[in-house]
Amino acid sequence: MVKKFSKEELKKFDGKSGAPIYVAYKNKVYDLTQSPLWKFGIHANTHKAGIDSTESILNAPHGEEVFERYSVVGELGEESGFDLEGKLLRVIKTGGMDRRIHRMTSHFPISLLMTASLLILLYEYIGNRSFEVAAYYTLSLGVIASPISVLSGLWGWKISYLGVMTKIFKRKILISVPLLVIGFVCLILRSLYPDILVEKLLLSWIYLIMVLCLTPIVITLGYYGGKITFLRPF
């Protein structure tokens, strides 16, 4: 009969006051009391005994083979089911669902909105309508990509930078507001009035200036993003 350990019960085997050192891994409970790497129930200055190490071992500089040397003293009683929360947490912590997602998504609005500005300028200069239509499509994609980029940025800030507000994050968040507002207003205007740039009305100039404004906005956001990524905080 295999002994079943509840999480609460396992906590007692933390190596303190002469207690044995037990650590759970994939539902099996191992006795690590003899391990020189688990003196006083602490491993690598970080990991404590008496807990389930299934998640934390993913970040360890060794695999599960380290447990092979030690004897199994029981099983975790409560952990036979599918641990969705633990799995999600693992994906979030180790699967790149942190600031690295924003590094990828942020390039879409930057490149698309800058291209939209360039195409509009080409239309104004050359007068070929194809440039204006291409600008509209590019703008649409850039505007759709913007909230994804902003949300991934906020998520990365929360996960990787603990959600601590500092000058650089405050600036990025504040500058994202005009990006989203101006972007969506431009998209709505152009969708409602497809000939907005053909007829030279006041609204045409407003639309033109707003689309061109998106370029310095995304450049500034990219500039601060670069400062964060390449460690240039000041």
Partner: protein, 105 residues
């Protein structure tokens, strides 16, 4: 006499504002470095898993552990700085209230 008090308080307020700015910069510098330590740890941990010789595994294991220690040190310092920032902000508010009192009186 009253003017001297005001000047002293204003000087104190300026000093506290400068300190707050400096603390905010330090917090930002540490905060931006933390994910780099974690990513460096992941890098060495992956290299460890891929390594075939005992010597390279030993090296990667040591380097990965060093990165974890760096992250722990940074997080500890971050907590201390955040605490100091809160305390300095409270001090600043108190000095401002004193100055307001001086002006009112």
């Amino acid at each position: 006499m009253e003017t001297n008090n005001k000047k002293e308080l204003q000087g104190m307020i300026k000093e506290l504002q400068d300190k707050i700015n400096e603390l905010q910069d330090m917090i930002e510098a540490i905060l931006l470095a933390i994910p780099r330590e974690r990513e460096a740890h992941e890098y060495y941990a992956n290299a460890y898993r891929e390594a075939t010789s005992e010597a390279s595994r030993k090296m990667y294991s040591y380097l990965a552990e060093q990165e974890t220690l760096h992250e722990t040190t940074l997080r500890k310092r971050l907590d201390e700085l955040q605490q100091e920032l809160v305390e300095t902000k409270i001090k600043l508010e108190l000095e401002r209230m004193k100055l307001k009192g001086e002006r009112g009186g």
